[in-house]
C-alpha cells in the first residue's frame, strides 16, 4: 500500500466526488484496510465480505457528503465499518434469543496499527512471484491443505511447502522494507 500524502488523498477524494469513476483509486488504496479492520472484529469470512461490500457501497453513495477535515479517508471508512458491525450485532441479537457475544473485540477499541500492518501484508501478497503468490493465496485465502495444493498444482508437497516458506520469507522482508 503506497504511502499517500494528505494532499494526494484529498485530491483523489475531490476527483471522485466530481467523477465517481475515480472511486476505483480510493477503493484500491483502502480495500485491504477496510477488510483487515472488519476481519479483526468479525471472524467469519462470509460476514467479513458482506460487511466490506456494505462499507464501500455506503462510502460511494455518501462520498458527496464527505468533508475534508484533516483526518484520513480511512478513518471515515473505519467509522462506517464500525457502525455496520454494530448494526449487524444488534440485528443478530434481535434475531436470536441468545445474547450476541459481546467480546472485547466487538467494542470499537481496535488496534489500528495492527490493522494497518495486516492491510500492508495483504497488499504485499500481490507483489510476490507468481508461484509463491499462488501457494499463499490457496493456503490462506482458499484455506487449502498442503496436499490439496500439491494435487492441484501438480507439484510435490515438499515443493509447495518450500514455496510457502519462500513466500512468507519474502512477505516478512517486504514488511520490514516499509
Amino acid at each position: 500500500m503506497s504511502q499517500v500524502t494528505e494532499s494526494d488523498e484529498r485530491l483523489l477524494i475531490e476527483a471522485a466526488q466530481i467523477d465517481p469513476s475515480r472511486f476505483a483509486e480510493l477503493y484500491e488504496k483502502n480495500f485491504h484496510r477496510v477488510y483487515a479492520y472488519i476481519a479483526r472484529r468479525v471472524r467469519d469470512r462470509a460476514e467479513t465480505q458482506d460487511l466490506t461490500a456494505h462499507v464501500f457501497h455506503q462510502a460511494l453513495a455518501n462520498l458527496g457528503k464527505f468533508k475534508w477535515k484533516g483526518s484520513p479517508f480511512a478513518a471515515w471508512l473505519y467509522r462506517i465499518a464500525s457502525n455496520a458491525i454494530a448494526d449487524q450485532a444488534k440485528r443478530k441479537m434481535r434475531e436470536s434469543s441468545e445474547q450476541a457475544n459481546p467480546s472485547a473485540e466487538s467494542s470499537s477499541a481496535v488496534d489500528l496499527e495492527e490493522v494497518e500492518r495486516r492491510a500492508r501484508l495483504f497488499s504485499a501478497v500481490d507483489t510476490l512471484p507468481e508461484d509463491q503468490r499462488r501457494v499463499i493465496v490457496m493456503r490462506f485465502a482458499d484455506e487449502k491443505s498442503i496436499r490439496e495444493i500439491a494435487d492441484e498444482l501438480g507439484r510435490s508437497e515438499g515443493a509447495v511447502k518450500q514455496l510457502q516458506f519462500r513466500g512468507l520469507e519474502n512477505l516478512r522482508n517486504r514488511l520490514q522494507e516499509k
Partner: protein
C-alpha cells in the same frame, strides 16, 4: 528423531493457525517465530475474486447517474466475457506474460483441459475455457476469427502493447493518438482474439468528435474494402498499387484473368492491347493489384505468389475447380499458418495461406499478394535487391548457408524468397516496380549487376520506365508516373 527442517516446522505452525489454534510465538526460534507471525497475519486473507468482483459492482454503480437509474439497471446483471480458447492453458500463460493478468482460479480436467478459469487484468475479470465442440463451445481458431474485440483501458497503451508484442502478440494497428481523445492501437493474441489497447488522454466534446469523425470517414471511405474495387477508377487503381507489383506474363493472358477472377475473386480494372499485340491488364485480388500480360509470341514468365486469404480451404477448392492442379493439399503449417499450393495452367504457382491469427494482423507488412522468388543463389539475390532497390532484409530462415525462406522489404512492399530447390525453379519473373526516381534507380540496378533492356523512356500510357534484367533473369520494370518524375 531427526530435527525437522524449518520449512516443515513453519508448515506445522501454519497448519495449527489454520485450524484456529493459538500458538505462542515466543516459544519458537526467532527466525521461525518471525515467519509464523507473518502467517498469523495472513489468516483470513481476502480472496482475489472477492476484491475484483466488489470493485466491478462499485464501478457499475459508478456509471449510473441517479439512484432511480441504479435501481432499474440493477435488474440486469453484469455482462462478463467468457472466452473460448483452443489451448486455454497456454492462453493463461500468455495473458500472464503479455497483459500481466493475474490468475484467480482454474479448474482442470485430468487430461489437462481447462474447464473454467478466471483471470484479472486491471479491474476486469475474464472467464476462459477450452473448446468443447460437443457443447457447441468453439474457439476463434475453429470458427475462423472472433467478431468481438476486447477493449482495455490501461494506464500506458504504448508500454502495454510493447510488453504484449514481446510476449508474442501481433501488432494489428500501431498505437497512436485518436481523434476521440484516446491513444490506442490493436494487438492480436495467438489464439484469435484482437485487443484494443487504449489510454484516455483528453475529453473531446461530442460536436468536435463528430467533425473529426466526418473528416475521418471522408479520408478513409472508398479505399481498402474489397467492394471498392468494383468502382473502376484509374486513380483508385494507382492508390492501391504498391511499389512491387508482380507482372504475370503468359501466352494466354485473357484466360489467366478468367482464372484469377474465378479462383481468387479477382476484379479486372483495366485491359488494353499494346502495339506489339501484347495484352496488358490490371486485376486486383483482395487488397493488392497484379498485372497480367503477354501474348502467344512472347516468352511467358510464370510467377510464384504467396496469397493470403481469409479461408484457405475454400479458395484452394475454388482454384482446383477453376482448373488449377494441386501442388500441396491444405495443411496446418508449424510456422503459424494453414496453407496449400496450386499451379494454374499457365504455370503460375499460388501458395495460398490463412494465418492462424486474424487476417488483418498480417496487414502490417504482408498483403493479399506477395511475390515469391526462387533464385539460384538466394544470398546474391538479396544483395542485388539491396544494392539496386534499397531492399531491407526483414527475416530469414536458413539451413547452413542455404536461405530457405526470407522476407525483404522494398519501399512499401515485401517480397519473399527461398533458394531454388525444385526442378521447376528458379522461375524467373517480372516485376513492375514503382520508384521516385526512375533514372537513379536504373543506374543503381545496372551497378548492382543488372542488364539494361530499355533505358528510361517516357511511355505513352503516362509512366516513365526502364527495363532491367537482374542476374537471376527476373525483369524489373522500374517506373514512376510522368508527373511525379518531373517534380523530384
Amino acid at each position: 528423531m531427526a530435527e525437522r527442517s524449518i520449512i516443515d516446522q513453519l508448515d506445522d505452525a501454519v497448519a495449527a493457525l489454520a485450524e484456529g489454534r493459538q500458538i505462542d510465538l515466543t516459544k519458537l526460534e526467532p527466525e521461525l517465530s518471525a515467519l509464523a507471525g507473518v502467517a498469523q497475519g495472513l489468516i483470513g486473507l481476502p480472496h482475489d475474486t472477492f476484491k475484483a468482483e466488489l470493485q466491478q459492482q462499485l464501478i457499475r454503480r459508478d456509471s449510473m447517474s441517479s439512484p432511480a437509474e441504479q435501481l432499474e439497471t440493477n435488474a440486469v446483471s453484469s455482462v462478463s466475457l467468457y472466452m473460448c480458447i483452443a489451448g486455454a492453458s497456454a492462453a493463461l500463460d500468455f495473458y500472464r506474460d503479455a497483459f500481466g493478468a493475474k490468475e484467480l482460479s482454474r479448474l482442470v480436467e485430468p487430461d489437462g483441459k481447462i474447464g473454467h478459469a478466471e483471470i484479472q487484468i486491471g479491474n476486469i475479470v475474464l472467464m476462459i475455457a477450452d473448446e468443447y465442440p460437443d457443447y457447441g463451445v468453439l474457439s476463434p481458431k475453429t470458427i475462423g476469427g472472433s467478431p468481438v474485440r476486447l477493449h482495455l483501458y490501461v494506464p500506458d497503451a504504448d508500454a502495454f502493447a510493447e510488453r504484449a508484442i514481446k510476449a508474442g502478440a501481433t501488432l494489428v494497428r500501431p498505437i497512436q493518438d485518436q481523434f476521440y481523445g484516446d491513444r490506442s492501437g490493436q494487438v492480436a493474441d495467438p489464439f484469435g482474439y484482437t485487443w484494443i489497447v487504449a489510454t484516455h488522454k483528453k475529453d473531446v466534446p461530442t460536436e468536435e468528435m463528430q467533425k473529426e469523425f466526418d473528416k475521418f470517414t471522408r479520408e478513409h471511405s472508398p479505399k481498402k474494402s474489397s467492394e471498392a474495387y468494383s468502382v473502376n477508377e484509374d486513380k483508385m487503381r494507382r492508390e492501391n498499387r504498391r511499389a512491387v507489383t508482380p507482372y504475370l506474363t503468359v501466352h494466354k493472358p485473357a484466360e489467366l484473368i478468367d482464372f484469377v477472377t474465378e479462383a481468387f475473386g479477382g476484379i479486372e480494372h483495366f485491359r488494353a492491347t499494346g502495339s506489339g499485340a501484347g495484352m496488358h491488364a490490371e486485376v486486383s485480388i483482395g487488397d493488392s493489384v497484379v498485372m497480367i500480360g503477354g501474348a502467344e509470341h512472347i516468352e511467358p514468365k510464370p510467377t510464384a505468389i504467396h496469397l493470403y486469404v481469409p479461408d484457405v480451404d475454400q479458395v484452394y477448392e475454388r482454384a482446383l475447380k477453376a482448373g488449377a492442379k494441386s501442388l500441396m493439399p491444405v495443411v496446418d503449417q508449424p510456422y503459424g499458418e494453414r496453407s496449400g499450393g496450386v499451379e494454374d495452367v499457365h504455370g503460375n504457382r499460388w501458395y495460398i495461406a490463412t494465418p492462424f491469427v486474424p487476417l488483418q494482423t498480417i496487414a502490417q507488412d504482408l498483403h493479399t499478394v506477395t511475390v515469391y522468388f526462387h533464385p539460384i543463389g538466394a544470398q546474391r539475390f538479396i544483395d542485388f535487391v539491396t544494392n539496386a532497390f534499397g531492399g531491407k532484409e526483414l527475416m530469414r530462415h536458413a539451413e547452413g548457408d542455404m536461405v530457405m525462406h526470407a522476407k525483404v522489404q522494398i519501399r512499401d512492399s515485401v517480397i519473399e524468397l527461398g533458394e531454388a530447390r525444385y526442378p521447376e525453379q528458379p522461375m524467373p519473373t517480372a516485376i513492375y516496380l514503382y520508384v521516385d526516381d526512375v533514372d537513379g534507380v536504373y543506374e543503381q540496378a545496372l551497378k548492382a549487376g543488372g542488364v539494361s533492356m530499355l533505358p528510361p523512356t517516357d511511355q505513352p500510357f503516362g509512366d516513365r520506365n526502364a527495363w532491367v534484367q537482374d542476374p537471376f533473369d527476373n525483369v524489373w520494370y522500374i517506373a514512376a508516373p510522368l508527373t511525379a518524375t518531373k517534380s523530384t
